[in-house]
C-alpha cells in the first residue's frame, strides 16, 4: 500500500489521495496553447458552455414533460409554458441553444477547414468532431419530436421514411424504427429515450474523445506552424514568457476564452429574451395530426443544406446524394492531398474551393427554405451539383498544390 502521512491541509489531503495538483497541471496550467491564435479558437469553449446550457435547461424541462401522444403537446405548451414558474425560460433557452449550437458548430468546422486543422496528426480531432456533428444532429432531431406538434410529426414521418432506402422499399425497417405503421406512442417514447439518455451519453463520450485527440497534436495556430511544445513550454516555465510561442491553458488562454464566451452569452440571452421565436416554428404550435400535412414541410435551418441536396433529384438519386453529403465531410483529411498545413488564403486553388464551398452551403440553405418550384428548383439543383462537384474536385486540386 502507498504511504500516507498526516495531511497538512485539505489540499494536501486530497493531493495524497487524488493527485489533484498533478491533474490541475496536466489539464490546465501546463496544458499549452499557441499564442498565435484569434477569437475563432474560442468556439470550442463556446460550444462547451452552450452544451451546458442545453443540459441544465433540459433537466428542468424533463421534470414536467410527458412523453405521451395525448399529453406531450399540452405538457409543453400549457404546463411548462404557463404553469411552471420560469418554465418559459428553460424552454426558450433550450430551443435557442439547440439552434445556436449548430451555428457555432458550423463556424468551428469552417475555422478548422480554413486553417487546415484536420491535417498532420489532427485527423482524429476532425473525425471525432464530425461524429459529434452526427450525434448533435440525432439529438436535435429526436428533441424536435418531443413537443408532438405538426412539424414534429411530419418531420418524424419524412425522416424515418428515408430509411426505406427508396427503391429498396424497406418498409419493415421503417416500421421497426417507429414501432408502428406511423409515428405514434412507441415512436414518441423511444425518441424521448434517445433524446434524454442514449444520444447525450454518446455526445459526452465523443466530447471526451475529441478532447483526448487534441492532447498530442495540440491546438493548431494561425499559420499552421509546427511548434515544438516541449521546447516552448520549458522556455515559458523558465521565465521567458514573452519569447515563448505558447501560453498556459489556464489562466492565460482561458481569460481571453471566457471574454469571448461573455460576449457570446450577451448575444445568446438577447435571443432568448427578445427573439426566441426564430427557434420556434409556428406550424409546431398545432398539435400533431396524421391526416393533415402542413402545406410546406422544411427542417430547421441547420439541416436545410443537406435537405436541399436530397430534394431536386428523383428518390433514389436524391437518397444517394443525401447520404454522400452526410458522410463526405468526415473524409476531408483524406481527400485533401496537399502536404500544406497553412490557412486557405495561402493555398492557391484551395482558397477558391473553401469560399466556393462556404457560399454553396449558404445557397443550399436558402433554397431549402423556399418551396420547391420554378427558379428556386433550378438554383437548388445547380447548388447541389456544385456541392458534389467540389468534393470530387478536391483531391485533384490539392494534389496539384505546390508545397509552401
Amino acid at each position: 500500500m502507498a504511504h500516507f502521512t498526516k495531511a497538512t491541509s485539505v489540499k494536501d489531503w486530497l493531493n495524497q489521495r487524488l493527485a489533484v495538483e498533478k491533474v490541475e497541471k496536466v489539464m490546465m496550467s501546463e496544458y499549452w496553447i499557441p499564442k498565435n491564435i484569434n477569437f475563432l479558437w474560442a468556439m470550442g469553449m463556446v460550444l462547451v458552455i452552450t452544451f451546458t446550457l442545453l443540459l441544465v435547461s433540459g433537466i428542468f424541462l424533463l421534470m414536467y414533460y410527458q412523453p405521451n401522444v395525448n399529453l406531450a403537446f399540452d405538457s409543453v405548451n400549457y404546463t411548462i409554458m404557463r404553469e411552471v414558474d420560469f418554465g418559459w425560460l428553460w424552454r426558450h433557452v433550450h430551443g435557442v441553444a439547440a439552434s445556436v449550437v449548430f451555428l457555432i458548430i458550423y463556424i468551428h468546422m469552417f475555422t478548422g477547414i480554413y486553417y487546415g486543422s484536420y491535417k498532420k496528426g489532427r485527423e482524429l480531432i476532425w473525425i471525432s468532431g464530425m461524429l459529434l456533428f452526427v450525434a448533435f444532429s440525432a439529438e436535435a432531431f429526436s428533441g424536435y419530436m418531443l413537443p408532438w406538434g405538426q412539424m414534429s410529426y411530419w418531420a418524424g414521418m419524412v425522416i424515418t421514411n428515408l430509411f426505406s432506402g427508396g427503391s429498396l422499399h424497406a418498409d419493415g425497417l421503417v416500421e421497426w424504427i417507429r414501432g408502428d405503421y406511423v409515428p405514434a406512442q412507441a415512436f414518441l417514447n423511444r425518441f424521448f429515450m434517445l433524446h434524454v439518455l442514449l444520444v447525450p451519453l454518446a455526445i459526452m463520450g465523443l466530447i471526451g474523445l475529441h478532447f483526448g485527440a487534441l492532447r498530442i497534436p495540440h491546438v493548431n495556430n494561425q499559420d499552421g506552424e509546427e511548434i515544438d511544445f516541449d521546447v516552448e513550454s520549458k522556455k515559458y516555465l523558465a521565465g521567458d514568457k514573452a519569447g515563448s510561442k505558447v501560453m498556459r491553458f489556464a489562466n492565460d488562454f482561458m481569460s481571453k476564452d471566457m471574454m469571448v464566451v461573455g460576449i457570446y452569452l450577451i448575444f445568446f440571452f438577447y435571443l432568448v429574451f427578445f427573439h426566441y421565436d426564430f427557434a420556434m416554428d409556428p406550424v409546431n404550435f398545432d398539435p400533431a395530426d396524421g391526416l393533415k400535412t402542413p402545406a410546406h414541410i422544411y427542417p430547421e435551418w441547420y439541416f436545410l443544406w443537406s435537405y436541399e441536396i436530397l430534394r431536386p433529384f428523383s428518390t433514389n438519386v436524391g437518397l444517394i446524394a443525401f447520404a454522400f453529403a452526410q458522410v463526405i465531410f468526415v473524409l476531408l483529411p483524406f481527400l485533401d492531398r496537399s502536404p500544406n498545413t497553412v490557412p486557405a488564403s495561402r493555398r492557391g486553388l484551395f482558397r477558391i474551393w473553401f469560399w466556393a464551398m462556404l457560399i454553396d452551403m449558404i445557397v443550399l440553405t436558402s433554397m431549402g427554405k423556399v418551396p420547391p418550384s420554378g427558379i428556386f428548383s433550378t438554383i437548388g439543383l445547380y447548388a447541389a451539383l456544385t456541392f458534389i462537384g467540389l468534393w470530387i474536385a478536391l483531391p485533384f486540386i490539392t494534389k496539384m498544390e505546390k508545397k509552401v
Binding site: 421514411n161 421497426w176 414501432g179 396524421g290 400535412t293 414541410i297 420547391p372
Partner: protein, 178 residues
C-alpha cells in the same frame, strides 16, 4: 490449442460465453423495438362504399395512415379505359369504380392535396404529382400511390385483408405491398 496457456483458454472460453450473450441480447433488443401485438391487431378498417360522391375526395384512416377514396366520374372512366395502367388501379364495387390509395406520397410520405378541377394530386413537400387513379405523373415520387390490402365484401371494402382482386394487383405489379 496445444501452445496456449490455461489463461489463454480461459480468455477464449469467456469470449465464447460473452459472444453468445451478446448475440442473444442483440436479438432481444431488436425484438423489443418491433411493433407491439396490440398495434398490429388494430390494423383493420371497414369502409361502406355506398356513400361516396363522384370526384369528391374523402380521407379515411387505416393503421394511422390517411386512405384516399375517390369515386370516379364519367370523364375519368373514359380516360382510364384508354389507359390500362390507370384502369388496373381502380377497384370496381357494384357498378362504380373507386380509387382507394394510401394518401402518403411515395417519395417521403407527405399527404398530397387533391384539386377536383384538374382531377390531380399535388404533393407540396417536393412537388410530386399524381392523376385521378393515383398514378404518378411528375417526379420525384418513384411510383403511384400505394393501394392498401383490401377485400371486397358486397358493398363494403375491408382494409387490411387480402382479397383476390388485391392479390392480382400485387402480381401484376400495380401496387407494392404496404
Amino acid at each position: 490449442m496445444k501452445n496456449s496457456s490455461r489463461r489463454g483458454f480461459m480468455g477464449k472460453a469467456f469470449g465464447a460465453v460473452a459472444g453468445v450473450g451478446a448475440v442473444a441480447s442483440l436479438y432481444a433488443m431488436k425484438k423489443s423495438w418491433d411493433p407491439l401485438p396490440s398495434v398490429k391487431a388494430a390494423g383493420f378498417a371497414t369502409l361502406d362504399m355506398s356513400g361516396y360522391k363522384e370526384n369528391e375526395l374523402v380521407t379515411e384512416k387505416w393503421r394511422g395512415k390517411p386512405i384516399f377514396v375517390l369515386k370516379q366520374n364519367e370523364e375519368m372512366l373514359t380516360k382510364a379505359k384508354a389507359n390500362p395502367k390507370e384502369m388496373d388501379r381502380l377497384i370496381k364495387i357494384g357498378d362504380s369504380y373507386f380509387m382507394v390509395c394510401v394518401g402518403l406520397c411515395t417519395h417521403l410520405g407527405c399527404i398530397p392535396g387533391y384539386n377536383p378541377d384538374d382531377e390531380s394530386f399535388l404533393c407540396a413537400c417536393h412537388g410530386g404529382m399524381y392523376d385521378f387513379s393515383g398514378d404518378v405523373t411528375k417526379a420525384p415520387p418513384p411510383r403511384g400511390l400505394d393501394i392498401p390490402p383490401f377485400k371486397i365484401d358486397g358493398n363494403k371494402l375491408v382494409l387490411g385483408e387480402e382479397g383476390p382482386e388485391y392479390k392480382k394487383m400485387l402480381e401484376s405489379g400495380t401496387t407494392l405491398k404496404v
